[in-house]
């Protein structure tokens, strides 16, 4: 009907830009509130939408808080409830707004729908059954402590609240209530944990010091770069720093209120500097290439990766804005004293927002190119470079150089690369096989791809819109692919050489489980992801990512270790070509030994909690109790 208005593109919701503290400072009060733009969706009271459900139950206080109805006329008419610390319905609106902003950012970068980790229902006498989890549950007031965490076991985010420290020098109202759910950074961070866990299930298994640190770092990166999507704050901070984001600024800090309220005299984390207790001043940190070796604690290690990525961003931003500075300074590039012209601030803000958007896109897209298990920072760099080379073959703005340089200055290197050039950092393409005639290998892989009907399989996913349907169909496809690989024994041998896994009956290495029915090694098709992305040169990249998984059981010093191995095949569907194979194979003995060694060390340095509370179940609860 023509009289029916079209569905709006966005739902506008007011909220705090960072956290409530900005509103109480004269300097920042004007920019303390922003309006979040959430893609329009039907929401029930809670709010409950397609991706999240906010359930405001507060067990320590033994009560519920009434759910907010975002469709109420009085709420809709004024872009949501007004920000308020004392109104639980606003808290629900805030967590919904920030969580949805984060999810939307993630989906936009990947170009497909996001999923939560499956619920695993234990079955008697069979492996646990995976079930689709449509919505992440969010409890805004679940804990009475300075903590917030993502619980995979419950498919939920739990946020705490706590009285601020009694230390009067903290700048906080002593004993005043601080809500972690009102901090944009904390909510974005925890939501990202959940998104990443839904994407890479095994990034929670610490097989080297980088795995958990990456989880933290990635969550921080998303929260940080989302700051640049707040135009008011961005302009304000650009004006304040006179365009130089390398000086102390709010954009580079995470969870200022939570940090201050805990009595640490600074934001919880800061990508470029820190508060120095001795001099009582903020100081800029200089990159130290040896720091990574010495730093084993999860958050500290993660902070190094965040600092590297942020450095890359800063180089890119300053590079992009250099011409503006020259224009504004009569060619000298040195700005005159005093405040910036508002037009210049606006243009600089635009450049900063653009750079931050690009950097965050790169960081998220790189996930497709990460190995499925045992990720290291160095491999993440390789994933970043490879993903970007695929999409932007011509690196005009030298983004990749900025990344490589920033990582090098923090001492983050991949193993087994010859040089730190783009070409050697890019994942290896499937090489020629010396036992075969030239070109034969590629031909065989091509036949293999067409024999397993990959195009038809992916077509089944193309036109599905409901996440539940996509989830169900993907699982059918995975089962089909598993069967297809098994039936293509001859071709599978090439695949086996390529992936480093044991896929055929032909002499599998020891420790690989053999199926009692087929006599073949057990392996899984863990996931299939499709991606159609527009390249910078206008071509559409039509890709499929297939993850294969296998476990190997090894024994050392009387202890048995089950070690996960796995590979990702990156396939170009248009060319029917395997472009990359990112692998953590069975026969990489060096890695397996490293994993075992790490496991041994880890149990040696375990905390006292592991003595008293054997089998603790919430990894993030313990991890976050000192650092959200």
């Amino acid at each position: 009907m023509a009289s029916q208005p079209p569905a709006p593109t966005y739902r506008l919701l007011r909220g705090y830009a960072f956290d409530p503290t900005l509103a109480t400072q004269l300097e920042t009060a004007l920019v303390s509130e922003i309006t979040y733009k959430i893609p329009w969706e039907e929401v029930a009271p809670g709010p409950i939408g397609e991706y999240v459900e906010v359930v405001d139950y507060d067990p320590p206080s033994g009560c519920f808080y009434a759910p907010v109805n975002l469709n109420d006329d009085r709420v809709l008419a004024q872009n949501g409830l007004a920000p308020s610390e004392g109104n639980p319905q606003f808290h629900q609106q805030m967590v919904y707004a920030v969580a949805m902003t984060t999810i939307n950012r993630f989906e936009r970068a990947l170009g497909r729908k996001a999923f939560w980790t499956d619920q695993q229902t234990p079955q008697t006498g069979a492996p646990p059954k995976d079930e689709f989890v449509p919505r992440l549950r969010i409890y805004p007031h679940a804990l009475r402590m300075a903590n917030a965490y993502y619980s995979r076991r419950k498919g939920a985010l739990l946020f705490g609240y706590f009285p601020a420290t009694d230390d009067r020098t903290s700048g906080q109202f002593p004993g005043g209530m601080v809500f972690t759910c009102l901090s944009h950074d904390v909510v974005a961070h925890e939501t990202t944990h959940a998104l990443l866990d839904g994407f890479h299930e095994y990034f929670l298994e610490p097989t080297n010091p980088d795995v958990l640190a990456f989880h933290e770092a990635f969550a921080d990166m998303v929260a940080l770069f989302q700051h640049f999507t707040f135009p008011e704050v961005l302009r304000h901070q650009i004006a304040k720093t006179r365009g130089d984001l390398r000086t102390e600024n709010l954009l580079a800090q995470l969870a200022a209120q939570v940090g201050h309220a805990r009595g640490t005299h600074g934001a919880l984390r800061d990508a470029i500097g820190k508060y120095d207790e001795a001099s009582k001043k903020w100081i800029r940190l200089t990159p130290d290439p040896t720091e990574l070796e010495r730093t084993m604690k999860v958050h500290e290690r993660g902070a190094i990766l965040v600092a590297a990525v942020f450095d890359a961003f800063l180089s890119i931003y300053h590079d992009r804005s250099r011409d503006l500075l020259r224009l504004a300074s009569g060619g000298s590039g040195v700005l005159p004293q005093g405040e910036l012209h508002p037009d210049l601030s606006n243009r600089l803000a635009l450049e900063a927002a653009k750079s931050a958007g690009h950097v965050l896109n790169m960081c998220i897209r790189a996930l497709d190119y990460c190995p499925p298990v045992d990720l290291t920072f160095g491999e993440y760099l390789r994933a970043l470079i490879t993903a970007d080379m695929d999409l932007v073959p011509d690196d005009q703005h030298r983004y990749r150089v900025a990344f490589i340089e920033a990582f090098r200055r923090r001492g983050i290197y991949p193993r087994d690369v010859r040089t730190l050039s783009e070409d050697s950092l890019r994942w290896a393409r499937p090489g020629e096989d010396p036992t075969l005639a030239p070109g034969q290998m590629e031909k065989m892989l091509k036949t293999f791809i067409s024999n397993i009907n990959l195009r038809q399989q992916v077509d089944r996913l193309r036109y599905l819109t409901s996440r539940q349907d996509i989830w169900r169909e993907s699982r059918f496809i995975q089962a089909d692919l598993h069967g297809a690989i098994r039936n293509q024994v001859l071709k599978a041998q090439i695949l086996q050489r390529l992936t480093g896994l044991a896929l055929t009956n032909y002499s599998p290495p020891p420790g690989v489980k053999i199926s009692s029915t087929s006599g073949a090694p057990v392996f899984y098709v863990k996931s299939i992801r499709e991606a159609r992305r527009l390249r910078a040169d206008g071509r559409v990249l039509n890709q499929v990512f297939i993850t294969l998984l296998q476990s190997q059981i090894l024994e050392r010093n009387g202890q048995t270790y089950s070690i996960r191995c796995g590979s990702v095949l990156v396939i170009d569907l248009d060319d029917e070509r395997v472009t990359f194979c990112i692998r953590k194979g069975l026969r990489d003995e060096e890695r397996l030994l490293r994993t075992i060694k790490f496991e041994e060390d880890r149990s040696l340095t375990a905390s006292l909690a592991s003595t008293y509370f054997v089998g603790m179940q919430e990894p993030f609860a313990a991890l976050h109790s000192t650092g959200v």
Partner: protein
């Protein structure tokens, strides 16, 4: 060699203290003659002989680890040239052992000394209490009568963290007391049955009353302080500085490595700031009253009490809170009419049976587990850490109490002024010469630092003694305590091979252990440094 004296002037007269001590004797029957007058070579005791057959005639030190259970009790004997040997007791306690049991142990200590000295009263030249935990001190309460009647004390050493005349130390102890009170309140609430089981046992280290007659652990410390004052030799020790000596023992120096100095006392030092910022030590003091108050208030609300003091810890004012039940007009609890308004929402979400796996009833209680852990860890970190060095050949015996990682890491900065040395001696140098290591905290996680700790102990004749009773440990918590921690035990075995001795392992000692100077009976295990 100059005798280093750190004696404190006795402020109270000796007589007065003695009188005070007598008053504290719980049961007067202890003075009855049946226990008095122990005699040399007395064999009516049902416990083991006072020395193992096959013990070496001559030795420089004998370390005796009693096998009393999950706890520490070490008797060190240093022969002296001109008179009977120097006897020293480091801790005397156990978890879950009754009065009778611990009395036997203390009687055995008495008999050992009396046989040696031939005196009617056992002279403990030095008594050391490492930290305020039941598994290290219970014996001083449980066998108080024996200590009172049959023992003379020569001196008492405690960590500086026990010196209550310092206000900042009193403040730490006060905070601790409050935390324990909160935890106890939590344990008394209906929650205890389900979610807090594990917490209860962790608290047991510091808990005052139980069925074993261990009494108030702080009282055991008070008693030792009293005996120290009476002997006019009570010392509170700080790490670093000058080494100490044992009265009349030639060629042995004692170094104090921990407890680490209070970061609050050294605010300007970057070093300690770093320690503090990493929450390594004493972070309870930093947690603040407000945080603990909030936890306490939560317990108050659960019992249905209308604790107005707790009101300020609620996140929102009364009008926003919708409990399922509320007081109705008759003053009785009944369904809350306001809850009816959101009942549909709750039954579709939180109460939905299919979604029950997502309920969060107990998750917030993890805060209590954290609190109990940091309590335990903080007290462990106040452990007095002593290293005994044999000057001539350089061997070191290391007693760490239950020091946790924070305590270990602080040693890196501890230095000693040694006579005849141009530069101060770094504490970590002692680790490289350690031949005997008393394994910290019953071989648990986090109590033996690997890098900068165990890795530095490189002597190929290293002996490690683990005071432990696995049976007791297994019964604790919901799934038992992981003592010994397998990875640590393995790392120890790599260092000390078959010379790792666990007090509750009853199988015969290997030849290698025997060669290393280890002898065992059912009651104790001896280590001889010849």
């Amino acid at each position: 060699m100059p005798r280093v004296s750190r004696k404190q002037p006795a402020r109270t007269s000796r007589k007065k203290i003695k009188a005070e001590r007598r008053k504290k004797v719980p049961q007067p029957q202890a003075r009855q003659p049946q226990l008095a007058q122990p005699q040399a070579g007395r064999s009516n005791s049902r416990t083991a002989p006072v020395s193992v057959t096959g013990s070496p005639e001559k030795f420089r030190v004998r370390v005796r680890m009693y096998r009393q259970g999950l706890g520490d009790c070490f008797l060190l004997t240093f022969p002296r040239a001109d008179k009977h040997a120097f006897h020293m007791l480091i801790d005397c306690g156990a978890l879950g052992r009754d009065k009778q049991f611990m009395t036997k142990i203390v009687e055995h200590i008495r008999d050992t000394i009396c046989v040696e000295t031939g005196a009617s009263k056992a002279m403990l030249d030095l008594v050391v209490a490492t930290h305020e935990h039941k598994d290290h001190l219970s014996g001083f309460n449980q066998a108080r009568d024996i200590f009172n009647n049959d023992f003379e004390f020569g001196a008492v050493w405690l960590g500086w963290t026990e010196n209550l005349s310092k206000p900042e130390i009193r403040a730490i102890k006060e905070t601790k007391k409050k935390a324990i009170a909160k935890l106890k309140a939590a344990l008394d609430s209906p929650l205890a049955a389900t979610a807090l089981q594990g917490v209860e046992q962790v608290l047991a280290f510091s808990e005052d009353e139980d069925s074993t007659g261990a009494g108030k652990i702080s009282e055991a410390l008070d008693y030792l302080k009293l005996r120290g004052k009476e002997a006019e030799n009570l010392q509170y020790l700080k790490p670093g500085g000058d080494p100490l000596e044992l009265d009349g023992v030639e060629g042995v120096r004692v170094y104090v490595l921990g407890p680490p100095e209070d970061p609050n006392l050294l605010k300007t030092s970057r070093v300690t700031e770093e320690l503090k910022s990493q929450d390594l030590i004493y972070h309870l003091a930093a947690m603040g009253d407000a945080g603990m108050g909030a936890l306490g208030a939560a317990i108050g609300t659960l019992n249905g009490s209308s604790d107005r003091e707790g009101e300020r810890y609620f996140p929102f004012s009364d009008e926003h809170r919708i409990p399922r039940d509320a007081l109705n007009q008759n003053g009785r609890m009944g369904p809350n009419p306001y809850f009816a308004l959101i009942k549909d929402f709750v039954s579709r979400t939180y109460d939905d049976k299919a979604q029950a796996w997502r309920q969060i009833e107990d998750d917030w209680l993890a805060a209590f587990g954290d609190l109990a852990l940091s309590l335990d860890s903080d007290t462990n970190n106040t452990s007095l850490v002593l290293a005994f060095e044999f000057v001539k050949k350089g061997e070191v015996l290391l007693f760490v109490g239950d020091a946790q990682v924070g305590n270990w890491q602080s040693w890196e900065r501890v230095k000693f002024n040694v006579p005849g040395r141009a530069r101060p001696l770094p504490a970590l140098d002692l680790l490289g010469r350690t031949v005997f290591y008393k394994v910290g905290h019953h071989c648990s996680h986090n109590a033996t630092l690997k890098k900068g700790g165990l890795e530095l102990m490189t002597r190929d004749d290293l002996v490690a003694f683990i005071p432990l009773d696995e049976n007791t440990a297994k019964k604790q918590g919901t799934k038992g305590w992981e003592m010994p921690a397998p990875a640590l035990l393995k790392a120890l075995s790599e260092k000390a091979d078959e010379r790792v001795v666990i007090s509750d392992v009853t199988k015969n000692l290997s030849a290698k252990a025997n060669d290393a100077g280890i002898r065992a009976t059912a009651t104790y295990i001896d280590y001889f440094l010849e």
